[in-house]
């Protein structure tokens, strides 16, 4: 009997060792950002970023554990070490670079303004005196705050901002273009009443990067290796076609 237990334990140890040879990276997503990362009908975290991370893991040889984390506080959790990386449509900005390290860019993003179908605007300046909403702590919200003469309103989730726009309490929502397209073009109910007015022109290009805790070179190198492989093999283009469709 004892022999059996010892043998089983030994066998377990050996297999466990093999399993642990691959590094596990815990990745945080705020799964309220369709189509990049969101929760599907069967409560799984899915989306472009999720598939992308899985592809990276396969290419670079590490394991991924996906974790759903609320956006407000997602950076605090990284700092506290609750997870190793954030793959959650985090735009690389100078302010954020001071607080955390970023992988090589994995997606180019632009800010889009979503308005009711009846609004005709072509420039952000034309929204003077209006109230615009965005998700707290996103580049979309920062864009609104920087626009003179516009009242900025911050929401916990982009979906709540879209709902308020749908109900007519605010005049527009600024967010990343794939998300704007998802709400204003693909979600039937919203698409009937809302449209993308325009994509906001900026001087500098905006990119999504994977955020890691400052100085976590081991994880960063693995991630960069994965991104390089995914881009070299053209997997990113397949995923783009699958989730974003253009």
């Amino acid at each position: 009997m004892l022999k059996k237990i010892v043998l089983t334990l030994a066998a377990l140890l050996v297999t466990a060792n093999v399993a642990f040879a691959e590094k596990t990276i815990v990745v945080a997503h705020d799964a309220t950002w369709p189509p990049m990362e969101f929760v599907d009908a069967s409560k799984n975290i899915v989306g472009f970023a999720v598939d992308y991370t899985d592809a990276m893991a396969k290419e670079a040889g590490f394991k991924v554990v996906h974790k759903n984390v609320a956006w407000d506080g997602i950076f605090a959790g990284l700092e506290a070490g609750s997870y190793d990386a954030i793959v959650s449509s985090v735009s690389i900005t100078d302010e954020r670079k001071k607080a955390m390290d970023f992988s090589t860019p994995y997606y180019e993003v632009r800010q889009a303004l979503v308005v009711p179908k009846t609004t005709n605007v072509t420039k952000l300046d034309e929204m003077k005196g209006k109230t615009l909403g965005g998700q707290i702590s996103t580049t979309g919200y920062f864009t609104i705050k920087k626009t003179a003469g516009v009242t900025a309103k911050s929401y916990d989730e982009i979906g709540l901002a879209m709902e308020d726009l749908f109900n007519g309490r605010i005049d527009g929502v600024v967010c990343d273009d794939p998300v704007a397209a998802n709400y204003a073009l693909q979600q039937e109910q919203y698409a009937a009443k809302m449209k993308i007015a325009f994509v906001i022109e900026t001087q500098e290009k905006e990119f999504y990067g994977i955020a890691v805790k400052k100085g976590n070179k081991e994880v960063l190198d693995l991630l960069n290796k994965g991104i390089a492989a995914v881009q070299a093999k053209g997997i990113d283009k397949q995923l783009r076609a699958k989730w974003i469709g253009r």
Partner: protein, 263 residues
């Protein structure tokens, strides 16, 4: 062995610990908290003006919104509470049932859910502005609590008062509004003050419907600066200071109201 029926009731309110008005010592839980919080606030703002002083300058409009929501909600919830309390005491079966059901339903739904419900669920039919939605949700919720306060306050006035008033020819309404309620106010006001404190703390929930109160302003600050520790320390200190101020106020009010009992 027979045991005496136990009539012990534990009453814990959701507001704050109201300092005992008769307490004459200098070192009390209240004074320690108050001086400590104030000292911490001043120390942080002078020793590290960046970010603490900058943070403090970012928050005043949030504090104003918090107070605005609290004061307006209390003002609305007092009449709701009075009507509910009277309804709960009514001998009319229908009125009594309506009032009791209201209390039952509202107390059974978390305030956060009520906020979501009024703002987002009903938002499909009624375009209630955010501040008004917050005030409605808080008034409806606290109206139910206030109803219980009013009921207990009115109940506490001895039956002899009613009998005396009635035998002097007052009708029922006159008895209630001219004899019972003026006396009941003394019992009712301190718990109403405590509900006020509880409500002020609960207004932090309205940040979920994008009302820019203290908490949301703090979250916006933290989200841009990544100074989570500093921001939430400040937010906690500010809430604590406001609550301590108010609990002292309630305590003073209580001692004034007890003037006749002390003789």
């Amino acid at each position: 062995m027979t045991t005496e029926p136990q009539n012990v009731r534990i009453v814990i309110t959701d507001g704050a610990i109201i300092p005992d008005p008769k307490e004459r010592r200098i070192i009390t839980a209240w004074s320690i908290s108050f001086v400590g919080a104030l000292a911490a606030l001043v120390y942080l703002c002078t020793s590290r003006p960046d970010p603490y002083w900058r943070l403090l300058q970012f928050l005043p409009d949030g504090i104003a919104v918090t107070f605005k929501v609290t004061v307006l909600s209390i003002l609305c919830s007092i009449p709701i509470g009075l009507v509910t309390g009277l309804g709960r005491l009514s001998r009319n079966r229908l009125i009594n049932l309506v009032a009791s059901t209201y209390v039952e339903v509202v107390r059974g739904i978390p305030l956060l859910v009520q906020l979501f419900y009024i703002y987002y669920a009903l938002g499909r039919f009624l375009k209630v502005p955010d501040l008004l939605a917050a005030i409605i949700a808080l008034s409806v919720c606290y109206g139910a609590y206030m109803g219980e306060v009013f009921r207990a306050g009115i109940d506490s006035i001895s039956k002899g008062q009613t009998e005396a008033a009635r035998s002097l020819g007052f009708n029922r309404a006159e008895t209630m509004f001219m004899v019972i309620l003026p006396q009941a106010w003394r019992t009712i006001l301190p718990p109403v003050g405590n509900e006020f404190i509880a409500m002020l703390k609960d207004t932090s929930l309205v940040s979920i419907i994008a009302v820019a109160d203290i908490l949301r302003r703090g979250r916006e600050f933290a989200s841009e600066s990544f100074l989570y520790f500093e921001t939430y320390t400040m937010i906690a200190l500010i809430y604590l200071l406001i609550t301590l101020f108010l609990s002292k106020g309630v305590s003073i009010m209580e001692s004034r109201l007890n003037y006749y009992d002390r003789r």
